[in-house]
């Protein structure tokens, strides 16, 4: 039996890795296209590796799970964003 005090303390879950495929988004240079996709409106559910740019409404995609405090870049509108948690949801805020 393992002493409960010797068990590893539960930290944040490890980030999942995601394979990004082309989505047909063609508004940035080719090498960056897989990091973005078009938003399909309010019913479009974002994945754990995705964030919506509030400035230009493009979905930004990461190869890892995104978390509050992460910084992402929206190349289509050149906005630098920081993710914050609001009402249990991840929201992107522009850094000016």
């Amino acid at each position: 039996m393992t002493d409960p005090l010797e068990k590893p303390t539960p930290g944040p879950r490890p980030r999942e890795t995601f394979e990004l495929e082309e989505t047909g988004f063609n508004e940035v240079p080719k090498r960056f296209r897989r990091f973005y996709r078009r938003w399909r409106g309010p019913g479009d559910k974002l994945g754990p590796n995705e964030a919506l740019c509030p400035v230009c409404k493009v979905v930004i995609r990461s190869t890892k799970t995104l978390r509050a405090g992460d910084r992402v870049y929206c190349m289509p509108c050149m906005s630098r964003l920081e993710l914050v948690e609001e009402d249990g949801m991840l929201v992107a805020k522009v850094i000016y």
């Binding site: 063609n26 508004e27 940035v28 240079p29 080719k30 509030p54 400035v55 230009c56 493009v58 929206c74 190349m75 289509p76 509108c77 050149m78 906005s79 630098r80 522009v94 000016y96």
Partner: protein, 289 residues
């Protein structure tokens, strides 16, 4: 220092636009795409589309004058470079919408008289407010007026027109999707550049907010006039003519909604966007009422 533009270059613009979403297009649409026969054969519908396209040309001519004027007013090289690419974007928009007028049957010799006949007078006043700031080389007010108010309005109008054209007119929808992609950069520049400048020059706020209030007044009058004048409405689809179930915009069936409902939906969308964008950069939306 304009940090957000540190990665922007004319090379990146080339790779994103001419070598990206504009590749293989002719005047913004596919080389084989044409206006639908149903539209060209229906005089009322064709006139409605001419009227709508004239407003787009007028708006883009204003944007061309404003962005080219801002190049010389910009205080740093990075902004000048961005505005040089925006100037070409706006010049392209003027050209593709002008070309659409020709595709709708307007003769090149009749271009200016057609614009004069159909232009919405409130749109002219909207442009005057902005171009006065550009003439004075007022960079902060000019960028708010051009890249936040004018481009913010264009973004919503293009999205509404795109929703209406997607199924019934793929040529026009393709033309619009290229301009929407351009607008993303333009509103991004506006928000990011002004977000930083307004924190540095808070004393500019009252003057900029007054300009936004005046521009908003003329914009709402433009929408009112456009929808009351336009029979089936500025953003309608041919589905309105043949009774088929139409596309939707903000939950409204565009083929069935009244002009008042469409005007209300567009105005509410644009104003909500204004409030959100202005709030993000530290400006308070001023209602024209």
């Amino acid at each position: 220092m304009v940090d957000f533009l540190s990665n922007y270059s004319i090379q990146k613009w080339l790779e994103s636009c001419p070598q990206g979403y504009l590749q293989d297009t002719v005047y913004g649409h596919g080389p084989d795409q044409v206006e639908p026969q149903e539209l060209l054969a229906n005089d009322d519908y064709r006139e409605q589309q001419i009227r709508t396209t004239v407003q787009l040309i007028a708006g883009e001519r204003c944007a061309l004058a404003a962005s080219s004027g801002l190049v010389n007013a910009a205080p740093d090289q990075a902004s000048k470079t961005f505005l040089a690419t925006q100037t070409l974007d706006e010049g392209r928009h003027v050209e593709i919408f002008t070309r659409r007028l020709f595709d709708l049957g307007v003769k090149p010799d009749d271009l200016e008289s057609t614009i004069k006949t159909y232009i919405n007078p409130h749109l002219g006043k909207f442009a005057e407010v902005l171009l006065e700031k550009i003439d004075k080389k007022d960079f902060v007010a000019g960028v708010v007026g051009q890249n936040i108010v004018l481009e913010g309005m264009a973004f919503s109008v293009f999205e509404m027109l795109h929703a209406g054209a997607e199924a019934s007119n793929p040529k026009f929808a393709r033309t619009l999707s290229g301009t929407i992609a351009d607008e993303r950069r333009h509103v991004g520049f506006g928000e990011n550049r002004i977000g930083e400048l307004i924190r540095r020059y808070p004393d500019k706020k009252p003057e900029v907010q007054r300009m936004q209030r005046d521009m908003t007044k003329h914009m709402l009058a433009t929408f009112h006039e456009a929808f009351s004048h336009n029979g089936a409405g500025a953003g309608r689809t041919s589905a309105a003519q043949n009774g088929a179930s139409g596309p939707t915009y903000q939950g409204l069936n565009m083929a069935e909604a009244s002009n008042e409902e469409m005007e209300g939906a567009l105005s509410a969308t644009v104003l909500k966007e204004f409030k959100t964008r202005l709030g993000r950069i530290g400006l308070e939306y001023q209602s024209p009422a």
